[in-house]
């Protein structure tokens, strides 16, 4: 009986947590669709989440593309189909790896910082101070991060894809001998706008997931340094898992 009670308790806690997260998202959306929007705060967040992530996205994209080029070349070579290396690299990146890896990198770089920043503001009573000024912290802290995430992620994913495709060409074309015309020409034949849209939809939703989860965890961070560090860890883990889970749902249901 004890373990049934414990199981029930854990389940109820989980459901309550999901409910709170859901309400947090609804409140954020409400503030995002009602004026005033704080444009300067949004721009600052786009700069932080987007611009400051470009180097890490560039490096990750380049190496992912290079690995794909290398692995793809040897695999396709077994079937005498190295001409399809370009489409293979491009489709892998545009439909799957670009949005997912870019999202995971942004979670690690910007998502953790979002949680830590909001968590410290919470524990040092800066959020309370804002509320006491009669200001809604969601408008200043959460909405700008959500909008910035939704704007920045597709752009970062695009950079990831382009850099990855050229990384794949560098290895497959320059080092292993696939012709430039073949690599890019076949890509144009096999990659359609629906593939690009799939990647864009995914990255848009991943941007929202990262901003939502990381902001929520920071906003409800526990007391002191331990509370903030725990919230940051939970935010990164939960965001990463949700990104992968949502990727599967979108791939299986929508495309």
């Amino acid at each position: 009986m004890v373990w049934i009670r414990k199981l029930g308790g854990v389940t109820l806690d989980g459901l309550q947590g999901m409910g709170r997260m859901g309400l947090f998202f609804v409140q954020t959306l409400f503030c995002a669709f009602t004026p005033p929007l704080k444009f300067s705060w949004i721009i600052k967040q786009i700069w932080f989440i987007g611009y400051q992530s470009t180097l890490v996205i560039f490096l990750t994209g380049a190496f992912s593309g290079m690995v794909l080029g290398l692995q793809g070349f040897y695999t396709l070579n077994r079937f005498g189909s190295t001409a399809l290396l370009g489409p293979m690299v491009a489709l892998s990146l545009i439909k799957e790896l670009g949005p997912v890896l870019a999202a995971l990198m942004v979670t690690g770089r910007a998502g953790s910082a979002i949680t830590a920043e909001i968590g410290i503001m919470r524990t040092s009573e800066q959020i309370d101070a804002m509320e006491l000024m009669g200001l809604n912290p969601f408008r200043y802290l959460i909405v700008p991060k959500l909008i910035a995430g939704i704007i920045a992620l597709p752009l970062l994913t695009a950079i990831f894809d382009v850099v990855g495709i050229f990384g794949g060409y560098f290895v497959g074309g320059r080092l292993l001998g696939v012709g430039q015309g073949t690599y890019f020409g076949e890509m144009a034949n096999y990659v359609g706008i629906e593939d690009v849209l799939e990647g864009i939809y995914k990255s848009l939703s991943f941007g929202a997931i990262i901003s939502w989860v990381c902001s929520y965890k920071g906003y409800h961070a526990g007391f002191g340094a331990e509370g903030v560090s725990k919230a940051t860890t939970q935010a990164v883990v939960l965001s990463s898992v949700l990104v992968l889970f949502w990727d599967y749902i979108m791939t299986s249901l929508l495309f």
Binding site: I120, S124, E125, Q126, D128, A129, E131, L132, M133, G134, L135
Partner: protein
């Protein structure tokens, strides 16, 4: 102006406030004293609606803040200034921007008018010349004074001071309390001061309320408190170890 009626509040099953009731008149200064962890800050947070009581009511000019939402809550809060224990300054803003922030966001004043108001407040708290510094570059006393300026800049009718002197050396602590006194004489706000600087705060306050075991143990003029024969009050004021005072 402020009335608390039978406030009860528990955290994780531990009852911190066990029926707090008192009221204050406009322009009055009340010193709230008591041991650490007795719930003094919790009372202040109930007054501004940051915490909701499990039972009881907090009235500000007849309005129950526990039941206020949206614009009503904003209107009440806009009349209250709150000095947090650690200042709660926005760390990414300069001193100037911290003080200007509520004016920029809550009023339609021009940047020129905001500039005048901010410099006036900074001058009032002795921070002229520090406007471009960030909170990380300030001493403890400067942080409290910046927070004080930020709380004052909207001209609140009520000021709540949560341990304004904690962590400061005696001279700066007295300077802050003197500042509260002189600004009160000048502006006439109603104030609650949570402080452990008993000797100084007893000179400033019109009344003193002592919180003990989750209740208002006693409330009266500083003279009445100082002349009390209650062993708990005597021990707390003298700071003697061992006795009737229960530590948390």
């Amino acid at each position: 102006m402020i009335r608390l009626e039978n406030i009860h509040k528990s955290f994780n099953g531990f009852e911190v406030l066990k029926g707090i009731s008192f009221q204050m008149e406009k322009g009055e200064i009340l010193a709230l004293i008591g041991g650490s962890g007795n719930g003094k800050s919790v009372i202040l947070k109930h007054i501004v609606g940051l915490l909701k009581p499990d039972q009881g009511h907090v009235f500000i000019d007849g309005k129950d803040i526990g039941h206020c939402k949206g614009n009503d809550l904003e209107e009440i809060r806009s009349r209250i200034g709150f000095l947090f224990q650690n200042g709660a300054l926005f760390t990414s803003f300069t001193v100037y921007d911290n003080v200007a922030f509520p004016l920029r966001e809550k009023t339609k004043l021009s940047e020129k008018e905001i500039n005048e108001r901010v410099f006036k407040e900074l001058d009032q708290v002795g921070l002229a010349g520090a406007e471009n510094k960030y909170p990380a570059e300030l001493s403890g006393g400067m942080i409290k004074r910046t927070a004080f300026a930020r709380a004052l800049v909207t001209k609140p009718e009520v000021m709540l001071f949560d341990e304004p002197t904690t962590g400061l050396d005696p001279i700066i602590a007295h300077t802050i309390l003197d500042l509260i006194k002189s600004l009160h004489e000048h502006l006439g706000f109603t104030a609650i001061i949570v402080s452990h600087e008993l000797s100084r705060v007893f000179q400033i306050a019109h009344r003193v309320a002592m919180l003990h075991e989750g209740k208002i143990w006693t409330i009266g003029t500083p003279e009445e408190i100082l002349s009390s024969s209650d062993p708990v009050i005597r021990q707390f004021i003298s700071g003697a170890t061992g006795g009737a005072f229960k530590l948390y």
